[in-house]
């Protein structure tokens, strides 16, 4: 049974190379990329052997735990059942234990295991403390590797047995939340790598050692630093984790073999993407449509693509001699300003498809709010996380409130103004399906007016917040941080609410004229 399953696995893998040049090429490139990346990381890790133990421990335990979390989260992103899905053996009468072993071993044969092997070598080499510790490191690596593969196996099978697409979407959202939670960890790791060395407290590492994700990896470090009790605890946690995972896997296999596969109830149901996640109201529908378009329509996508490159604008200034610590604060407000600017001609982007809103008599409020959804979905987390990253780089977390205040003020005042201007002053835009770089036939004076009002208005409305924030962050008046935060938040929300209200009224009154405008352009 086990041998048969392993042969099947090998044959399946070989077939990827046998049929067609393209899949073979893709497979080879993917494997090469994964292996080379692993070798690079492994080499970097093994260079740590001369560094203090605390630093090594922080890096390998933190990074390794992150990797293990990835092994849980990643399978949920795939919509195809994994190779080891036990439901595939339903009806063959396979014995549970042997099927569980065979499927687990078969699933382990693959690129992830190869990468883990390479990384494991680097992990073992990072402890340059003699053969005793090295053997413990090998034990830790083996335990962690087995945990990783079992985690992926269980997660993949659970993901495949959740037939409801909606449930899967929620799990994906959960994955994003987990991702956000580990950002501090990543920040910690980056700081270790930054010149100047390790400055973290080690609390995160110590905490992670108690979790299934970090226990096995922390074992050699604890032993080397003489914490025998912690080392034994690590071993126990790691073994219990493995035992529980194996039990879970065996249960899944047993269920898969005994129970007939559930009929594909949702087989003919076509997913609605963003619409599935939003309420079935007019505003929800417009928001879903906007989000779909921001992802799918090249015109919106190109506007979004420039966002991540905006921080590069500060590099020339830095080379010119401006203080890097001050420059670190600049990109996030700039990105928020641009993001607030993006929806200012949204109605014109619809072109004549706007007739659907007009004939359905969509309320101005629903139309305005829905169109702001993508900018808010991207902008608010950007302002939060970006401001945090900026103040970390600025090396003074205390000014977070000021940085966030400026960012949110620029974003929300921009969106408030955009709500008015997209209804009051649309100008000819690139038509749907056209090349996003193509210029529209005629833009007229409206384009200039609209754009200057947007940028000028947002900058002017955020100016008070900006002044407070500059005093707080640059001139060191830390007592003004709170004021800047509140000024930014209140101006932003106030202008947004007023803008949406005015925009709704303008849109409701002018909807047919907006359609007539689209017909002309």
């Amino acid at each position: 049974m086990v041998a048969l399953l392993l042969r099947l696995r090998v044959a399946g893998t070989a077939n990827r190379l046998r049929f067609g040049l393209r899949p073979a090429f893709t497979a080879v490139v993917a494997v090469l990329v994964a292996v080379l990346a692993s070798i690079a990381v492994s080499t970097l890790t093994s260079r740590l052997r001369d560094d203090p133990l605390g630093e090594v421990q922080a890096l390998v335990v933190g990074g390794g735990a992150l990797l293990l979390v990835g092994f849980v989260v990643a399978p949920f992103a795939s919509s195809r059942p994994p190779w080891g899905d036990p439901r595939r053996l339903y009806g063959y009468g396979a014995p549970v234990d042997r099927a569980a072993v065979g499927l687990a071993l078969g699933s382990a044969l693959g690129v992830p295991a190869l990468c883990l092997l390479i990384l494991g070598v680097g992990y073992v080499r990072s402890f340059g403390l003699g053969s005793g510790i090295a053997w413990l490191a090998v034990l830790g690596a083996v335990l962690a590797g087995a945990t990783a593969l079992l985690l992926a196996l269980v997660a993949g099978t659970v993901s495949a047995s959740i037939t409801g697409r909606r449930a899967r979407d929620f799990l994906a959202a959960g994955g994003v939340v987990v991702g956000l939670l580990i950002i501090p960890l990543v920040v910690d790791l980056v700081r270790v790598l930054l010149p100047g060395g390790y400055r973290g407290s080690g609390v995160a590492t110590s905490g992670l050692a108690w979790t299934p994700f970090g226990a096995a990896l922390a074992l050699p470090g604890h032993a080397a630093s003489g914490q025998t009790g912690r080392a034994v605890a690590d071993l126990l946690v790691a073994l219990v984790t493995l035992g529980l995972l194996w039990w879970a896997w065996r249960t899944l296999v047993e269920r898969g073999l005994r129970r007939p596969p559930a009929p594909e109830v949702a087989a003919d149901r076509v997913g609605l993407g963003w619409f599935d996640l939003l309420p079935g109201t007019a505003s929800g529908a417009v928001a879903g449509r906007s989000l779909t378009y921001w992802v799918r329509d090249a015109r919106y996508r190109w506007s979004l693509v420039i966002l991540p490159f905006l921080p590069l604008l500060v590099i020339p200034l830095g080379i010119a001699g401006v203080d890097w610590r001050m420059l670190a604060l600049a990109p996030v407000p700039l990105m928020c300003l641009i993001l607030g600017f993006l929806p200012h001609n949204d109605v014109a982007y619809d072109n004549t498809a706007l007739w659907m809103h007009v004939s359905a008599n969509t309320r101005g409020l629903a139309d305005r709010l829905g169109r702001l959804a993508p900018a808010l979905v991207i902008g608010v987390p950007l302002a939060l996380v970006g401001s945090f990253a900026a103040v970390v780089l600025h090396d003074d977390i205390a000014v977070f409130g000021a940085e966030f205040g400026v960012a949110i003020a620029l974003l929300l005042t921009g969106l408030g103004l955009a709500s008015i201007l997209s209804a009051a002053l649309p100008y000819a835009a690139v038509r749907p399906g056209d090349d996003p770089f193509q210029q529209p036939q005629s833009t007229g004076a409206a384009a200039g007016w609209s754009q200057s009002l947007m940028i000028g208005g947002a900058a002017l409305l955020s100016a008070p917040t900006g002044i407070l924030a500059v005093m707080a962050a640059v001139e060191g008046r830390t007592d003004l941080v709170g004021a800047a935060f509140w000024a930014g938040t209140l101006t932003g929300v106030g202008v947004l609410v007023a803008g949406v209200a005015i925009g709704s009224a303008v849109y409701s009154r002018r909807a047919p004229e907006l359609l007539a405008f689209a017909l002309r352009s």
Binding site: V270, F275, S359, P512, L515
Partner: protein
């Protein structure tokens, strides 16, 4: 106003039963036989409605009757001239009065009057540039008129107070306007439904029903921008009726639709009209209008030259001949003698 209110509510409530009945009717069984069955649950559903709606139901049940006698009568006694179908007597659901619209110095529509009664299949025909699309766009609230009024079930489409009510009763298929075509078919129908105030579950269910009825099931997962012209028309038509409106205004609904789909769509629309709905459509195809419409209006240069039942308008000739006569097309075929002396 209140009458219209009540009537509208029954439309919003009834569709569950309607949807099922329609789905049943579409599942292979011959449509003719199931038609009476689909009507029976409908009529009682409309009973408690306002008097206006009751009259609609009355015309609906009476409607098929005048069609049969000519067919049977012709066989038995060929001497007897078949009785012309009576003009529909339902309440006026769509009234256009004194409509005027000009684009710069060009007059598109001038002082145009049109009345469509409940339960009619009304066709607007006219040569290119006659003002059909302008008229229908104004009637559906998409294009602001210079003068005149449009009332749907007594509510003015162009008054800020009544327009919500009026537009709720309208299903619209415009010609040559874009759709939100970066959505998949399923997303597009869901979008149309929820914009029209349906809740998510209803919008999903009706999308599935409509996809089945229009033969779009396999295309639901594809982007509308990848559809052929005919399929785009079908999905737009499906979106127009997803909220079960009282009045359907369709601009060139059959243009570039293949014959099989056109037959399906015609069947759906005829069933809708028999159930008390009203269809106002424009078309270039005289043959089609003559075949499926009860009443017709001929619009030329922004004026209505003739309107009434198809029988009255064609006055003993084919609609095609009558139309060419009204539109004055004969004159243009003279001249151009050079075309008959070939160049080689």
């Amino acid at each position: 106003m209140t009458e219209a209110d009540d009537g509208d509510d029954t439309v919003i409530d009834a569709p569950e039963a309607e949807g099922k009945a329609e789905a049943a009717a579409n599942r292979g069984t011959p449509a003719r036989k199931t038609t009476p069955r689909t009507q029976t649950p409908r009529t009682p559903a409309r009973k408690p409605a306002a008097p206006a709606a009751r009259k609609t139901a009355a015309t609906a049940t009476r409607k098929p009757a005048p069609r049969k006698p000519p067919a049977t009568g012709r066989k038995k006694a060929p001497v007897v001239v078949p009785e012309p179908p009576k003009a529909p007597e339902g309440p006026v659901v769509l009234a256009i009065r004194g409509l005027g619209k000009r684009y710069g110095s060009t007059v598109a529509v001038e002082n145009l009057d049109l009345e469509v009664r409940a339960g009619t299949f009304y066709g607007i025909v006219g040569p290119n540039g006659a003002g059909k699309t302008t008229t229908l766009s104004i009637a559906t609230g998409l294009l602001r008129p210079d003068s005149g009024t449009v009332e749907i079930l007594g509510s003015d489409v162009w008054s800020s107070k009544d327009s919500r009510q009026a537009k709720r009763s309208l299903g619209v298929l415009p010609d040559r306007l874009r759709l939100f075509d970066r959505l998949t078919g399923a997303q597009f129908l869901y979008y149309a439904g929820t914009l029209r105030g349906l809740d998510g579950a209803t919008a999903r269910k009706r999308s599935a029903d409509l996809a089945e009825a229009f033969g779009l099931q396999d295309a639901l997962g594809r982007l509308v921008s990848d559809y052929s012209v005919g399929m785009t028309k079908k999905v737009a038509l499906a979106a127009a009726i997803i909220h079960s409106p009282r009045v359907l205004v369709l601009d060139e609904p059959f243009e570039s639709v293949d014959p099989v789909s056109a037959a399906t769509v015609t069947e759906i629309l005829q069933r809708y009209v028999r159930g008390g709905g009203t269809v106002l459509l424009s078309s270039h195809s005289m043959d089609l209008v003559e075949r499926i419409c009860d009443s017709v209006a001929v619009i030329v240069d922004g004026h209505v030259l003739a309107q009434g039942t198809v029988h009255d308008v064609r006055a003993g000739r084919s609609l095609q001949e009558r139309f060419v006569e009204l539109a004055g097309g004969q004159a243009a075929t003279e001249g151009m003698e050079w075309l008959h002396s070939f160049s080689d």
